[in-house]
Symmetry: C2
Subunit: 254 residues, 2 copies
């Protein structure tokens, strides 16, 4: 299913889950994750690419801190894609992305990603529909390259927050001294474009759906972290990895 | 036309061309090229990727020296793709290639290229037919990305030499002190696989044919250089480039 209507998708945890239980479950999963990451690194056969997208203040930084924060730094990297530099603009839009694709054995986290080239750019009219279509095709080809030619598992998370929650978080950046560094006056203007963003996100969920996007209810951080951690844990478990023995061969590349 | 039979294609200049005239023509073209490269750099709208492939001793280095050697270094780069490093092998086979794709305004020369991943690897059985097919698809997607998303003109040259000429050149590496540094005992073994190489090259001309490969008769360096220089000059001329005026806008990226 990739025909999402974001306005109809809940931004909060299901009513029947209990915060206390979920937090305990997350703790356990994060421990599992650290063990699985070590195995991923040791085996060196698979690469993991985690794409985090969401409106401003949807909690991407917090997710990185709390889900991945205890992993062994040696095998995990985060890259934040900001406004492209002059050098990046002199190349195709996937050039800076490909450079940062994960090596086998590693987890690469994209804090925003190549998807901004069909999201913020479309919302502001810097990228029209025809170009967006071409870019979506290029993105699909690119993700297929990573999957088929470097054993890469791609996990694409959309952190889904309500307008009300976003406003509160943006407001906190104005008043909380520890959060003021994140304040950007344009964020309030950008937040007004929510329904335009929804439209573009939905188009991208529909057209760039291999793998499908995971919509993460993110108004409550404890639930958001649970969903991300659990999805990653389940993905890693399915890889059926093994610690190489002394006699193991070097991993094959494709 | 991309169904080539290399055994039937001449490795020497057509009978009716005269070395003296061709060399004069090449001189003139190389001058034009330097002017056109300056324009390419100044305009900053297009990128040029020149792929040089050929058997050992087919004259790739000489072509780089004599066709591109007088251009402004600031706008031309050469990269030689050797046996992949451990870091390169931990990524998909196009990762190291994409990193070296040309920026707008620049000429990038690939001395060997991503095509080795479906040539030498197939000749030696490190890459089977199924994997080769997948790689060819990935190569086509990748070249389309450069063409459509960074205004890149790709020129793919196969430097075609005869077995006799190759043997003489390899032998010269054994006897000429200035060429001994290029000597590699395995080259003689590799040369014996010529018909296997032909088969793989023909498959790649057929399946990766956008743009079509240019087969360059390369037994005589003066003719080889003429064909490469002329093809590049004609390609640059067709771009209809203009020096930006003071009032020009910044180039659009796609």
């Amino acid at each position: 299913m990739s025909n999402y209507n974001l306005k109809e998708i809940d931004t909060r945890a299901p009513k029947d889950v209990e915060k206390k239980h979920i937090k305990e479950a997350t703790e356990k999963i994060v421990d599992d994750l650290n063990e699985l990451q070590n195995l991923l690194y040791a085996e060196g056969k698979h690469a993991i690419l985690v794409v985090l997208q969401g409106m401003d203040a949807s909690g991407k930084d917090g997710a990185i801190l709390n889900v991945f924060g205890r992993m062994n730094l040696q095998g995990v990297d985060v890259v934040s894609f900001k406004v492209p530099t002059a050098e990046e603009l002199s190349h195709d839009f996937l050039w800076r992305i490909h450079k940062n694709a994960p090596a086998k054995g590693r987890i690469q986290i994209f804090n925003r990603s190549h998807y901004e080239d069909i999201l913020v750019t479309r919302v502001h009219g810097w990228c029209d529909y025809d170009l967006a279509k071409k870019r979506m095709q290029a993105i699909n080809d690119f993700e297929k390259l990573l999957q088929k030619h470097n054993c890469t598992q791609i996990l694409k998370f959309y952190l889904h927050t309500s307008e009300k929650e976003q406003q509160e978080r943006l407001q906190e950046r104005v008043t909380n001294p520890q959060k003021m560094w994140k304040y950007n006056e344009r964020d309030f203007e950008e937040a007004k474009l929510r329904s335009k963003y929804y439209e573009m996100y939905q188009d991208c969920f529909k057209n760039c759906n291999n793998p499908e996007w995971i919509i993460v209810p993110s108004d409550q951080n404890w639930y958001k972290e649970y969903v991300i951690a659990k999805t990653l844990r389940d993905t890693l478990k399915k890889l059926d990895m093994k610690y190489p023995s002394l006699a193991s061969e070097k991993p094959k590349s494709e």
